[in-house]
């Protein structure tokens, strides 16, 4: 695909790698915030090609992984109700709640459907006027415009049997929370390019400043990731800590003003729990009062749902790079990709899952 293949060119990648090696004089710990970048790093083996001592810490930027247990449990409770069609992005179906996952709820008879887009869920609502259609509106700032427009359309078109179970999370507060952690080892960030395609880059310079870390906005192809690493290490080696945009083809400084305006109309900032990490103040979006009637938590009383996170799971520490997955006593024993206890074992790019896959590689 054009603009993907070019930014995967192995020769240019090797050239960038050589420059990273040339620039690196000591160990550095960088975090790619975004799960998509984690995926790219593992998929292409980039971490294995970095200079010894340059460590990539996988951040909490997988929307599937960080959706709090309590919200998953609410999703399971709503999906199990008779008459409900519960729609979700595919990768949410295998995420375990306290007891089971959406696959199991579906296997017990619930009508759970995988859709490509929230607009597909709205179409299902229109086609099934006698059913309640709920879309599981998770995601970071990238996905929020899609969910926002969908609920906006539902209101505009009067599709009242549609609602959104919202669990949006925001990147900048997460970066703050990571940096505020007493044992934080992160020295520089790769910021998530597609989040910035929507939001722009203006939120990051103050974070670079406050915490003294370079933040490089970058993309997802190997060259993008490598260039992000190169720029971050170059800054670190030079003692700088600035916000830089290494993904200008997709990220204008102002992001997408139309989308930001819609977001401001549909969503408002709220505290949000992150799975395995805990509550981060002001780190999420919920529907504004104007859209309250389309809020699935409001429409279906799920206030009684209580989540019990596994006492064994140390994914919060893993996410912050404080421990390695195999230092968790549950790892590979009671916690596996098939029976995950924590967020980081759920998704294939989660740190624990990645370690699990590599566990047998002759080192």
């Amino acid at each position: 695909m054009k603009y993907l293949d070019e930014f995967s060119d192995p020769d240019l990648a090797r050239s960038l790698l050589r420059q990273i090696h040339a620039a690196t004089t000591r160990p550095w710990a960088l975090m790619e915030v975004c799960g998509g970048q984690t995926h790219s790093i593992i998929r292409h083996g980039i971490d294995q090609l970095l200079p010894d001592g340059v460590e990539m810490i996988h951040g909490p930027g997988c929307p599937v992984c960080v959706t709090p247990l309590s919200v998953i449990d609410k999703a399971l409770a709503i999906a199990a109700r008779p008459g409900v069609i519960f729609c979700s992005f595919g990768d949410m179906l295998r995420v375990p709640g306290s007891g089971r996952d959406l696959f199991e709820v579906r296997s017990a008879g619930a009508d759970v459907r995988v859709v490509y887009s929230p607009l597909d869920a709205l179409g299902i609502a229109r086609d099934n006027p006698d059913r309640q259609v709920v879309f599981f509106g998770i995601g970071f700032e990238t996905t929020a415009p899609a969910n926002a427009l969908t609920v906006h359309q539902a209101r505009r078109l009067g599709i009242r049997n549609f609602s959104l179970l919202v669990s949006h999370v925001l990147v900048p507060p997460a970066i703050s929370a990571i940096m505020e952690s007493p044992r934080c080892r992160v020295q520089g960030f790769l910021a998530a390019g597609h989040v910035c395609s929507v939001m722009g880059t203006s939120e990051y310079p103050s974070l670079s400043e406050k915490y003294g870390v370079p933040i490089v906005v970058t993309g997802f192809e190997p060259l993008d990731v490598l260039e992000g690493i190169r720029q971050a290490i170059t800054q670190l080696e030079q003692g700088r800590h600035e916000t830089r945009n290494a993904y200008p083809r997709a990220v204008p400084e102002t992001g997408n003003p139309v989308a930001r305006q819609m977001l401001a109309d549909v969503f408002e900032v709220t505290d949000r729990a992150w799975r395995g990490i805990g509550t981060i103040p002001g780190s999420g979006w919920r529907l504004t009062d104007r859209y309250r009637e389309f809020d699935a938590e409001h429409r279906f009383d799920v206030s009684g749902v209580r989540a019990a996170e596994s006492a064994l799971c140390r994914s919060g520490e893993v996410l912050q790079g404080l421990i390695k997955p195999h230092e968790c006593a549950a790892f590979g024993r009671v916690c596996t990709p098939r029976q995950p206890l924590g967020a980081t074992m759920v998704s294939s790019e989660g740190a624990c899952a990645a370690y699990y896959a590599y566990r047998r590689v002759a080192g």
């Binding site: 790698l17 980039i46 295998r94 696959f103 047998r360």
Partner: protein, 349 residues
Amino acid sequence: MIDFEGWTCPAPLRDTPHVVAGHGGGGAMSADLVRHLIVPGYGDAGGTAERDCAVVEAGGARLAFTTDAYVVQPMFFPGGSIGDLAVNGTVNDLAMAGATPLFLSAAFILEEGTPLADLGRITAAMGAAATAAGVRLVTGDTKVVGHGSGDGVYLTTSGVGVVADGVEIEPRRAAAGDAVLISGDLGRHGVAVLSRREGLEFATTVASDTAPLHGLVAAMLATGADLHVLRDPTRGGLAAALNEIAATARVGVELTERDLPVPDGVADACHLLGLDPLQVANEGRLVAFVRPDQADDVLAAMRAHPYGTGARRIGTCVAGHPGMVVARTALGGTRVISMPIGEQLPRIC
């Protein structure tokens, strides 16, 4: 790389008291279900029941015998239908044992309300595929289930073929040093079906690769080569096929990612949906483990056959990391090609 002392295999099927979709995905959950529930249930009468295709002796003949259930949705897709799929799939399971397929059976489970015209199209596709493959549909059965207890047509085909003396093609024969060959490009069938799947519809020119492969196998055998393993990478794709072979033979597999033939249309669809093309199903491809000194002859024979024109070597069987499949990436790193767990899900992340 990582210390994994104290590692224990997770208890199979734990905490999953009911059948879930993943049990049918052709990955680890499917394998567990067979290994830890179905085969133990059979007791002494089973034993080899894990096999995709059994090679048995009956009446002095050396027979291959296999069965597969087809529940594909939609039933008609670019490049084929459940009908030719069911014929080719069973022909291929026989071919993967080195057998000459001869006779097929077909058992239909029809949902009330299915248009008879659809059934007619399916049986016509079966007939055409059987004729093309040179096999005969000699026996069958038909059952009807209530509306809402089925989904159109489910079709189970079984097949019987004859295996020549001296032919011993089995997963456990994979050996360190073997060349790993693929007969053509990857992922066409899965993408063609996905493109018509309710809720995911997309336009694509990719059509299913469904094809009978016993002629190709015959051409490979005709070189005189000692084929160690043949496998059709269907459900779970190449990833599942190679992981199964690696696990069975306790060998490692090393692929060179650059050599994996993923056509543009498949790569693009996988990018869009966040799927791994190595986990996408194929229905007209085989992967072969061949002695390295015979690999070139076999490859030449494959390329000379209409269903092997895209054949190429994709990797090597190794003694290291037994049970594990690893790919060398284009950048020079490695990544683990792991066994898919359940079925493939489109990702947003």
